[in-house]
């Protein structure tokens, strides 16, 4: 998809960040989006290389027991949410320093890779991973702001779809790259980290070279008089979106629990377990662009809600007393992947529709933080429900909650006649 797009774009870097010229079709994906997609693809190759070998490295490379690792996750998640808000807020400073803040975020994560060569104990490795995650938190909102600012409002869904597809492609390629290195050099974890660091540095460089910075004419010279955070929260549309993202996030069971349920329900062989995320990612990769385009055509809010119905259907299949069929995991994972394809980039596009350019980064950060925090709360609550009631009743409750949340959001997200979102005319 990326190749097809870039082939139809005669000179991606030349159109970077500008509105398409009158003669060009609005459907083209702007160069800036492709550049940001490339940055994400490269960065994801880098980070997934590390993620893929980390358990092996800890157990066989360092002889450490990785069980203590999850303990600080709650703290990291809290910090990550806070950092995301800071990243969004900072990137709106002075009328758009999105690129600088994103560069700091990508740079911080890139620096963490060589650091892994130096630290050999669980607390320090935990600290490096936390710094890595801080970088990710910082860059997400400014990056999405840049994507939204680089394309025509009418094609935003598609642009975010292209970006998410490229991002996912990187996530799928990373483990393969790590495997190639380890195949060439047995126990070469240091080589994996070095290669990962080089790849990450390349990502930062592509960002610096090919993503345009502040653009004269597209943004006001300075930000709003009010603090961006308050300004964003005062917008009714942002409040409604944050409310919906939070509400739906509270009933979105985390991937791992979904896979665990799938494995238990269908009695899948243990060796399939690492392949389940690949199934979701493949569906996400294949559907992100088409569903983004559908969102542009039929309404982004509607597709965002439909995506949650796909998730609801996946829950339903896991709860229903269906027989064990090899088709079932395929259907569940496809539904799960289409849930991401219909909601992840689309939510960013919907948010961009509702937030003025001057506080775009902050607005995106607010909505995404609400969603992330809610999903973490859901994980803890779901873990407790699983403990007390067992997996099927827990998932049933989540499904009921999701149905109610989706209904409430369908009401909240109705396009109000007073403020018609910039949906395409088609």
């Amino acid at each position: 998809m990326y190749l097809a797009d870039s082939r139809t774009t005669p000179d991606p870097s030349d159109t970077a960040g500008r509105r398409p010229l009158p003669g060009r079709r609005a459907a083209l994906v702007p160069g800036t989006v492709l550049a940001l997609g490339s940055v994400s693809l490269i960065t994801d190759v880098s980070s997934e290389m590390v993620t893929a070998v980390l358990p092996l490295y800890l157990v066989t490379g360092l002889g450490l027991s990785p069980l203590g690792f999850g303990l600080l996750d709650g703290v990291y998640n809290g910090v990550s949410a806070l950092v995301r808000l800071v990243g969004g807020r900072l990137s709106d400073h002075g009328g758009g320093s999105h690129k600088s803040v994103a560069a700091v975020g990508y740079g911080l994560s890139a620096l963490c890779k060589p650091l892994l060569l130096l630290v050999h104990s669980v607390p320090w490795i935990g600290a490096v991973l936390a710094a890595d995650r801080t970088g990710k938190g910082l860059r997400t909102a400014p990056r999405d702001a840049m994507i939204s600012l680089a394309c025509e409002p009418a094609t935003r869904g598609r642009a975010f779809g292209v970006h998410r597809a490229m991002d996912t492609a990187g996530a799928l390629l990373g483990p393969l790259a790590a495997f190639v290195v380890l195949r060439a050099a047995a126990d070469g974890y240091d080589a994996v980290f070095t290669v990962s660091g080089c790849v990450a540095a390349l990502g930062v460089l592509v960002l610096l070279l090919f993503v345009p910075g502040r653009q004269a004419g597209t943004l006001p010279a300075r930000g709003p008089d009010r603090a961006p955070l308050r300004a964003a929260l005062l917008l009714p549309a942002v409040r409604r979106l944050t409310g919906c993202a939070t509400l739906l996030g509270l009933t979105t069971v985390s991937d791992s629990f979904l896979y665990l349920t799938l494995q238990r329900r269908l009695d899948l062989p243990e060796t399939w377990f690492p392949l389940l995320p690949v199934g979701t990612a493949t569906a996400f990769l294949l559907l992100a662009v088409p569903l983004g385009a559908v969102a542009d055509r039929t309404g982004r809010r509607r597709l965002f809600l439909c995506g949650h119905l796909a998730l609801l259907a996946a829950y339903g299949l896991l709860i229903a007393p269906l027989g064990i069929s090899p088709v079932l995991p395929l259907v569940v994972l496809t539904l799960h992947g289409s849930f991401y394809a219909a909601t992840d980039g689309v939510l960013a596009a919907v948010t961009a529709d509702a937030v003025p350019e001057a506080i775009r980064g902050t607005g995106l950060a607010v909505v995404q933080t609400g969603q992330t925090a809610a999903r973490f709360v859901c994980s803890i609550a779901f873990g407790t429900a699983w403990t007390v009631w067992g997996d099927r009743p827990a998932l049933g409750t989540a499904a009921a909650g999701l149905a109610v949340s989706a209904a409430v959001c369908a009401l909240l997200l109705r396009p109000s006649p007073a403020h018609t979102p910039p949906e395409p005319a088609r």
Binding site: D11, S13, D14, L54, P55, L56, V59, T60, G63, L64, S65, P66, L67, G68, F69, G70, D73, G74, Y76, N77, S121, V122, P123, W124, G126, L129, P175, F179, V181, L182, R183, A184, A185, D187, G188, A191, T194, V195, C198, V199, L202, V206, L209, S254, S256, F257, Y259, L260, P269, E270, T271, F273, P274, P277, S379, I380, T384, W386, T387, G390
Partner: protein
């Protein structure tokens, strides 16, 4: 901005970064290749046949550099530093008792590596193998050789990002019935049924073919549990016990205890628990021990510590007397039979 300088800069960066990446990989490959050659002063290893349960032999994973690295090897029990006989069977983790061997090994695939558990007979011939869901960490055989257990680390199994969990399986090698996941057993915390999504079980040590001890963890605490294959239950007996190892007479458990005041990176010390009195006693080993110890006899513990070759084996008296001493270099996962 002109496009040409940017493309040139990118090209230059790709060349430099690519050079560093390739260089690092080649360097690591060289280092790996070096381990295929024995160095002067290394333990002597020669190929030969290894028989499990032969009297007066200890069997272990040979870690010495050379063509027999990672192979199951044997030495005379009274001459642990003597020449090693290497079997040609490569294992990451190994244990044997009663003429049965369990070998957890890596299988190098085309797109990714996987792991499997191989059940071996006394002549190290494969009886059956089972695919594993993650990186192997512990393996044990019951004293009679009938039951076998193993633990692997599984990642991405939990809801909180970077956390890892364990998966422990128990196999009956007569009936070939496999309990894939001990977390499916009924877990009794202080005699009350307790269901927990965060339950982890690892480090089985067998009392007989159907009863065993293991570590169970939930809510941030670890417990010594007594397991029963027939009842399919795990009952907690004691807290803060990891990787238990039952003494040959069945009265004591050697284990690693998380001690207060130790660095979070090296929190474990080797302890012994008396099962009748539940009294804990420290061994004289003061270093961090991250291993499931084995009993060489009724009063001596053998355990692994990091060394030049990755792992050396040390011994210490189980009753808290004496001092630790080096048993053999470049060895891991020993078993003492006959």
């Amino acid at each position: 901005m002109n496009r040409m300088p940017r493309l040139l800069a990118l090209l230059a960066a790709v060349l430099v970064l690519g050079g560093v990446a390739v260089g690092a990989t080649l360097h690591a490959a060289d280092r790996a290749a070096e381990k295929d050659h024995a160095r002067p002063g290394d333990p002597r290893v020669r190929p030969g046949s290894v028989v499990l349960g032969a009297p007066g032999r200890s069997v272990f994973r040979n870690m010495a550099w050379g063509p027999h690295r990672d192979e199951i090897s044997a030495v005379p029990a009274n001459d642990p530093a003597g020449p090693r006989t290497s079997s040609g069977i490569r294992c990451l983790r190994f244990h044997t008792a009663g003429g049965t061997g369990i070998c957890l090994q890596a299988v190098h695939g085309r797109l990714r590596d996987s792991y499997r558990a191989v059940v071996l007979d006394a002549r190290l011939r494969e009886l059956r193998h089972y695919d594993l869901a993650g990186v192997p960490t512990r393996a044990r055989v019951s004293p009679s050789g009938r039951s076998v257990a193993w633990t692997v680390f599984v990642s991405g199994d939990s809801y909180a990002g970077t956390s890892f969990s364990t998966r422990t399986s128990v196999l009956d090698t007569r009936a070939w019935s496999l309990d894939r996941n001990l977390e499916d057993y009924r877990f009794l915390l202080d005699d009350r049924p307790h269901r927990a999504a965060d339950l982890n079980v690892w480090g089985v040590t067998f009392a007989d073919d159907t009863h065993f001890y293991a570590t169970a963890a939930t809510g941030g605490r670890t417990y010594l549990v007594r397991g029963d294959r027939t009842e399919r239950t795990l009952r907690t007996l004691h807290t803060n016990v990891e990787c238990p190892s039952l003494s040959p007479d069945g009265t004591r458990i050697a284990y690693k205890k998380r001690v207060e005041g130790a660095s979070p990176d090296a929190p474990w010390r080797l302890y012994v628990l008396d099962l009748r009195t539940l009294r804990e006693s420290a061994t004289t080993e003061r270093r961090n021990v991250d291993d499931q110890a084995v009993w060489r006899d009724g009063h001596t513990l053998v355990y692994s510590l990091p060394g030049d070759y990755g792992s050396d084996l040390w011994t210490v008296p189980a009753d808290g007397s004496g001092a630790p001493s080096l048993l053999m270099t470049a060895a891991l996962a020993p078993a003492f039979t006959g």
